[in-house]
Amino acid sequence: MVTEHTSAAHGVRIATSNPSLANRWDHFLARWAVNRSGHRVEPGLYALGTPTADSPVFVTANYTLSFDALREALRGMDGYILVLDTKGINVWCAAGKGTFGTAELVRQIGATDLGGIVDHRVLILPQLGAAGVAAHHVKKRSGFKVEYGPVRAEDLPQYLKAGRATTEMRRVTFNLRERLVLIPVELVHALLPTFFAALVLFLLAGRLAALGATVSVLAGVVILPILLPWLPTTDFGSKGFILGSVAALPFALAALYNAVDLSPAMRAGWAATYLLAMPPVTAYLALNFTGSTPITSKSGVKREMKAYVPVMATLFALGALAIVVLLATPRLGVA
């Protein structure tokens, strides 16, 4: 969805600091992964308030959540917003890809005739855009000096007042609120495969098995993001294994003590199956969550994959094999 902005003179669009109800609805849909790459703002130059040739210029991505966070943070101020075409991707990820980058910034400066609209030669960029922009190259190619503002748009008023960012403003955080907003997208992506796995298990092995599959997924996509800093290890794979094992424990106990119509050997078999198959599912989802965080490095994730993926695959294969054997056993009349 492209937000509503009426055209003004010189091709400069108008922006306000008051996102509409439609904007809020768009944010909600973006958070729930509906039409992932469709939350776009038209790239180009926007006027906020009544800017003059001396007003500051802020640069952002053409993702609605990025653009709206910026214009809301600048409430009551006059300035320009230069929106780069990042294909509807946020600043941090687009910088990583290079679409929020030197080339696109220089291109937009030229396309919007920014040099003819403002008298100064300063651009304020979000700090996280620095992974895609080389400030000294922008200066050389466009004459504009890049100043990196704070990581979060909400700190902009204080940054502008002080003329500099505090150490705190320069640090990326991953607090509970920042982790919670990611959960819906993780949930949506896990929904369909989990539903089918649970359905198959329900038909073949019953309610408890279907519930086990669902719980191992929910542990990975909901509980893990919430408990992340409090799980007692440093890497994501082991955090996932710990959480998955805790989640599997009640299922193992239920299989041992509640399935009274089965032989002791069968009950022990099912208990072992939960302990084998559930932890690797949670651990795999935990490893996948690395990409949603601003705290993991490529080296670190590679190291984790090398360490944990073989363990995950082995345990899960053993668990799946155990299910097949357990389901086949009564029919062979062994039990």
Partner: protein
Amino acid sequence: MTGLSPINTLEYDIELCTGCGMCSIVCPHGVFEQTDHTALAVNPDACIECGACQLNCPTGAIRVDSGVGCAAALIRAAVVGADKVSCDPEDSSCCSVSG
């Protein structure tokens, strides 16, 4: 250039540093700290290899094998044999943060 940390690929040649201060400004994890005349790598283990310092260092004093710390992207790159690891917003929430 010498490696600074056993857990990442960050390298820094302090001899090339002109003290412009860009690395300590762009780093989101406080790896670099600006002193009077040079930058010091005070917390190299915290580096997440985003590459911002290398890109914004005008003298090439910093080197890092940058990329995304995302298992889904690394798996996809391994599967399709891509040489450059990138994120796919359709695939995971990695590209949904509002930053």
